[in-house]
């Protein structure tokens, strides 16, 4: 039996929905639930995480031949935390209002399971370009999910999307406020997961 080598395009496309780290593997839930109270914050969070994910994937893939298996985890963590600190400084300097909202979730990108997971499962064993594609694909999947969640929660709880008014005044005077609280996040991710599961079952 011959196994077909997966195509490069699939590295990029699969993690967007079909193998979305949050929806299918249920990892990286912490920032997904906590920072999606508005579309803008969700986009900021996923941009920061994407920066770290893509660069750490590329750098780890570059140095993988020199890293012994027994000390790979400390080296991954040093590389990841370096990029996290860079984005942390950059946000403080250029986007202070976003930094205040994201707060502790920026430093917590260091222990984001998606990033360490891709380093361990993909970048450590693949070439630089493939790792870049994988990082980009996973970033797109993460960003897509966070922005969808942020938009839906903001829509129901505040009546706006990206701060733009999209609902009539009678709705905004008594919105579904619970969507902005933690239960709303659990509720929404449950619905999204069910939708993706149904879509996959129908296809199989």
């Amino acid at each position: 039996m011959t196994t077909k080598k997966p195509s490069r395009l699939s590295y990029l496309l699969k993690p967007i929905v079909r193998e979305n780290a949050v929806l299918i593997l249920m990892i990286g839930l912490c920032p997904t639930l906590a920072t999606t109270t508005s579309a803008r914050d969700a986009l900021g969070m996923s941009a920061a995480a994407s920066f770290v994910l893509i660069f750490s994937n590329v750098v780890i893939s570059l140095v993988r031949k020199f890293v012994q298996p027994s000390i790979r985890i400390p080296i991954f963590i040093i590389i990841i935390s370096t990029f996290v600190t860079i984005i942390d400084y950059a946000l403080q300097a250029y986007q202070p209002s976003l930094y205040r909202v994201l707060g502790v979730f920026v430093p917590l990108i260091v222990v984001n399971c998606i990033i360490l997971g891709r380093a361990e499962a993909f970048a450590y064993g693949h070439g630089v370009f493939d790792s870049f594609l994988d990082g980009l694909g996973n970033s797109l999947g993460f960003t897509l999910l966070l922005v969808v969640m942020g938009s839906v929660r903001e829509f129901f709880a505040v009546g706006t999307i990206f701060g733009k008014v999209v609902t009539p005044a009678w709705y905004r005077s008594a919105p579904m406020l619970f969507m902005i609280f933690p239960p709303g996040a659990f509720f929404l991710i449950g619905i999204l997961k069910a939708l993706v599961a149904k879509f996959k079952l129908d296809k199989a």
């Binding site: 140095v63 020199f66 890293v67 012994q68 027994s70 000390i71 400390p74 080296i75 040093i78 590389i79 935390s81 370096t82 600190t85 860079i86 400084y89 950059a90 403080q92 300097a93 250029y94 202070p96 205040r100 909202v101 707060g103």
Partner: protein, 178 residues
Amino acid sequence: MNSKTWMVVSLLITCLAAGFALSEVYAVTKPKIEQQKVDATNSALSQVLVTAQSFKEIEKDSLWYGLDQSGAKTGIVTRSGLRGYGGPVPVLVGLDLTGRIVGLKVASAAEGMKETPGLGLKATEDWFARQFVGLDSATALKKEGGTIDAISGATITSRAVARGVAQAIRKYSEHLKP
């Protein structure tokens, strides 16, 4: 090089490279970050003392003179952080030259206020701060003989704010009282 030595050396190289990269980024962003902090402080200060064009720091992070365009004093702003229920409660108080409170701002949750949401955090709401505006003598809660309505279920937080304001008025008499 045997594998154990290489283990140590490779970790060392990684740390050195990471340290070097971070020191470069730090050097580039540090002046920007400090500028942002100054801007944030100034905008909070001008919210509680609207007559001032600029502020001069007298005591680090706790006392400022407000100055108008010609550089004359228009009042003072103090910051106090007395212990509430969950930690210090940061309060900015602006007083004009006669010692009357003209503005009061309790820091929001994002600015370091750690009181309980729904109880102590209500101290950041407008109606609570407005009670203090216009007063010029020591403030206290009603149950302690003063005039301030405490927040239901959050006496400790309310008291921290009231005592912070009383402290501001004492600072005024030390610094500005004619």
